[in-house]
Amino acid sequence: MNNGTMKPTPPPADVHRTNFEILYERHSREVWALAYARWMNADTAMDIAQEAFLRLWKQWESGETILNPRAWLLRVARNLAEDYAKSAFRRNGTHPPQTMNGVQAHDPLPLESLEREETFAQLREVMEQLPKADREILTLRYALDHDTGEIAELLSINATAVHMRLSRARQRLAERLKATGVGQLP
């Protein structure tokens, strides 16, 4: 597989900076979504996304030209998300209590918001039990509002496969939500 890098003359730092910000604006949500689909944690996903972009910058600084930055970022984010499973940070469990169940703490918390957060926490638990591919395609579809073509391009699969995967993912999720009694928002 082509790693998408070669060694021509690097552009100046200010051009790098501008390109970096454009790439961040375009692709950071996709990178975040992939990391989120892996860990179902917004903060962890953001850490992974930012680390992926910092590594992109370091590659540029070292003189590497990345021909397809989007593909490079998504690949690095996937690798970082997998490496995160092996890290001491995760093994030792350094998440604060407020985020241990995946629900962010908000004070004061009205009753309606509390119920809503509880529903989301149950949804998160169910999604964590789904296969990683299901979480990934659901995240791309519902977090980023990507259409079939965009998902197909991002996952390097055809549109029919996207339809099939998405349909099966929704079906599995709905069955488990029904089993746990989570159906709709309060």
């Binding site: 900076r17 917004a42 972009f53 949804l123 977090a143 349909s167 709905a174 029904k178």
Partner: protein
């Protein structure tokens, strides 16, 4: 044709709405700014000379040693040239004092010779004026 098959949830259950609301609540809002590459500011702010951090300090040390050597060569010669005969390490004014004393002695001798030429008796026994009464040239 719908892209997504009907879910096994009850009619009215909005799985799409639930998922959208869930993911919307999870995405950071506002979206964070791009990370600031630390090395970038270092690269742009670093002057060219700091690529060799030891060169500046070595140059400063060499300049200091050279200045010290030149000073030790030229300064003693300058002080030696300026001192008058009779001066010592206490200062240059000592040479002027000697000169003033020498002139005072000459004036006394001349005054004494003039008295002798005028004959015995004239000015006999007159006191020799103190040197301060003579009109000595100013040394200033």
């Amino acid at each position: 044709m719908s892209l997504v098959e009907p879910s096994p949830m009850k009619p009215g259950d909005d799985l799409d709405g639930l998922l959208r609301a869930f993911f919307r609540s999870q995405m950071p809002d506002p979206w964070p700014a791009p990370p600031v590459p630390r090395s970038a500011s270092v690269v742009t702010m670093r002057p060219a000379s700091s690529r060799h951090p030891l060169m500046r300090s070595r140059f400063a040390l060499a300049a200091s040693v050279a200045l010290l050597l030149l000073g030790s060569l030229f300064l003693p010669g300058r002080f030696t040239h300026d001192l008058k005969p009779g001066s010592d390490a206490e200062g240059l004014m000592y040479g002027r004092d000697v000169e003033r004393e020498r002139m005072r002695q000459e004036m006394k001798s001349k005054h004494f010779e003039d008295q002798n030429k005028a004959g015995p008796g004239e000015g006999d026994g007159g006191p020799i004026h103190d040197s301060d009464e003579f009109d000595l040239p100013s040394m200033k």
